[in-house]
Amino acid sequence: MKILVCMKQVPQKDAPLKLNESAAWIREDVSYEVNEPDAFALEEALRQREKHTGEVVVITSGPARSQQVLREALAKGADRAIHLEDNAFVGLDAFNTAKAFAAAIKDEKFDLIFTGLQSDDYGYAQTGVILAELLGWPHATIIMQIEKNETGIRVKRELEAGFFQFVDMPLPAVLTIQSGINKLRYATLIGIKQAKNKPIRKVTLADVQSAIGTNLQKIERLYVPQKTKKTEHIEGSPAEIAKKLVDKLRNELRVL
């Protein structure tokens, strides 16, 4: 099976975020990491390749810094990478990101495309489904298991409140992967060494410009959310905090 994995670089979970001058985006001088479900999507692709042979290709769109996620994926075992490299890619909405991906892979023949179920920065939860529609492929979302069979694949979808559902579908298809579908591997030293010789195909904004259009949605402003609840801060040394808390638990909340 030939599998494409979309992997996005996002600010690290506990990176302190500051607004930039436009107040429509953040200052980009923060630390980054791979979007969490995308790491699970890569792991799943590698496992499928180990079972069925084939190829795993990773793709990202973003500035030079985002090459790091491709490097890590190659070190973990991906065969090659595609980098849509330009600062402008950061500002695309899900519709245009998917259009750029579709244009970048138009000469390839994948059996499966994996994306994460949503990104930690925009959180659109849309890019994979849009890409499927642009390619004319079926899709399934929030996937927790994938088995190949004679006619295609059987996937396990997560539904709300602890429910699941198996879905049979033909290939090629797009799947959006849920965190926790598998256990992540670490890159080995040999893997890191081998990654240096693996190809990264660069795609410029100009290469895909004719395929993308203006954004269909616009962030007018970004801001720190206003608090609606009155929160009391409990401060002091750990011992003092413990005393104050226990006093509240006993005398105000009456749970002790």
């Binding site: 049979d168 970004l222 750990p238 905090i241």
Partner: protein, 331 residues
């Protein structure tokens, strides 16, 4: 003719998903601000009773979108049916709840129409004639006001809990119901869904717990869970966790709180090293009192906490457990 808002409600096996009422409340608020009218649609096989239920609300009209192909749910059939309806009725704005089902088909539907979805919104603003939708970004650390930059139809989905379903206004008289037959060719549907099921039976029922001590990724390692367990025991409460803890197998799945786990409403919910992602919060925001310990003063969990302790949980938890034990021994 004024512009219309079309609310697509969600049903499963002949029952309306209650978040549908929240979306109706949202539409009614937008209608007040804009002067637009509201229509609703329900799609499925036996929709007339559901359509009648929705028609009792203050809406101008309800479409019962019918086709045998709509059962069981597939994204292909739903996108096809709703595209036909939207093309025929030309609403300005299409609203839906941000459920797992909607996120499965609405990006496809909008893309098929060359349009965008502003997803998972928590509110709206109407400023100088412009409609803005507010949504969380960066896992709730920031919020954004987002506008549509394309022609109608516009699509937006609302987060679970963004509006109050019980505030959906009833109409003076039942709205008209129009049955619409959707034409869906066999070849359109590519996925074959099997029956919906629940995994192994739950061993613990956290919904009845009065005190829940819940642990998140701030706990760092599996062996540190023991420390939290001791606090839970001292308090006479149940141990629970955020999803990554259960995904890692550090605690069993049935102790997971959130949209894909249990929904709880204890007297006290103590959140230790949990950031407060919306999917976690929907499972515990009904707690009477929320105490959060997090080393990041800007963690979103503090937005809903009654008591905030900004600090290292490894410093706070052991003395807290000791103090609880001491007080209990004394009483």
């Amino acid at each position: 003719m004024p512009d219309t808002i079309l609310v697509v409600v969600e049903q499963r096996e002949g029952k309306l998903n209650r978040v549908s009422w929240e979306t109706i409340t949202a539409a009614q608020a937008i209608a007040v601000a804009t002067g637009w009218t509201i229509e609703a649609a329900v799609a499925g096989t036996k929709t007339s009773a559901l359509a009648a239920e929705v028609a009792a609300k203050k809406v101008a009209k309800v479409y019962a979108v019918e086709s045998p192909k709509l059962e069981p749910y597939t994204p292909d059939a739903f996108a096809a049916a709703l595209k036909q309806l939207i093309t025929a009725k030309q609403p300005k704005l299409v609203l839906m709840p941000h459920t797992y089902q909607v996120r499965d088909f609405v990006p496809k539907l909008a893309t098929a129409m060359g349009r965008a979805v502003i997803s998972d919104c928590i509110g709206f603003k109407h400023e100088n004639g412009k409609l803005l939708f507010t949504r969380q970004m960066f896992q709730g650390k920031l919020a954004a006001d987002v506008s549509f930059a394309s022609d109608a139809p516009w699509f937006a989905t609302f987060q679970n809990g963004a509006f109050r379903g019980d505030q959906a206004e009833a109409g003076a008289s039942p709205a008209a119901i129009e049955t619409v037959q959707a034409e869906i060719a066999d070849s359109v549907i590519r996925n074959k869904p099997q029956d919906v099921f629940k995994e192994a039976k739950q061993a613990v029922d956290l919904t009845q717990a009065e005190v829940i001590v819940s642990v998140g990724r701030g706990i760092k390692e599996q062996k540190n869970i023991e420390m939290v367990k001791q606090l839970a025991e001292a308090l006479g409460g149940e141990l629970a966790a955020s999803r990554p803890i259960c995904d890692s197998g550090w605690l069993p799945m049935d102790r997971q709180i959130g949209s894909s786990g249990q929904t709880v409403a204890p007297k006290l919910y103590l959140a230790l090293g949990i950031s407060g992602a919306i999917q976690h919060i929907v499972g515990m925001k009904g707690a009477r009192t929320i105490i959060a310990v997090n080393k990041d003063s800007e963690a979103p969990i503090f937005e809903i906490a009654d008591y905030a302790i900004v600090g290292n949980l490894f410093d706070i938890v052991p003395p807290l457990t000791e103090e609880v034990k001491k007080v209990k021994a004394g009483s």
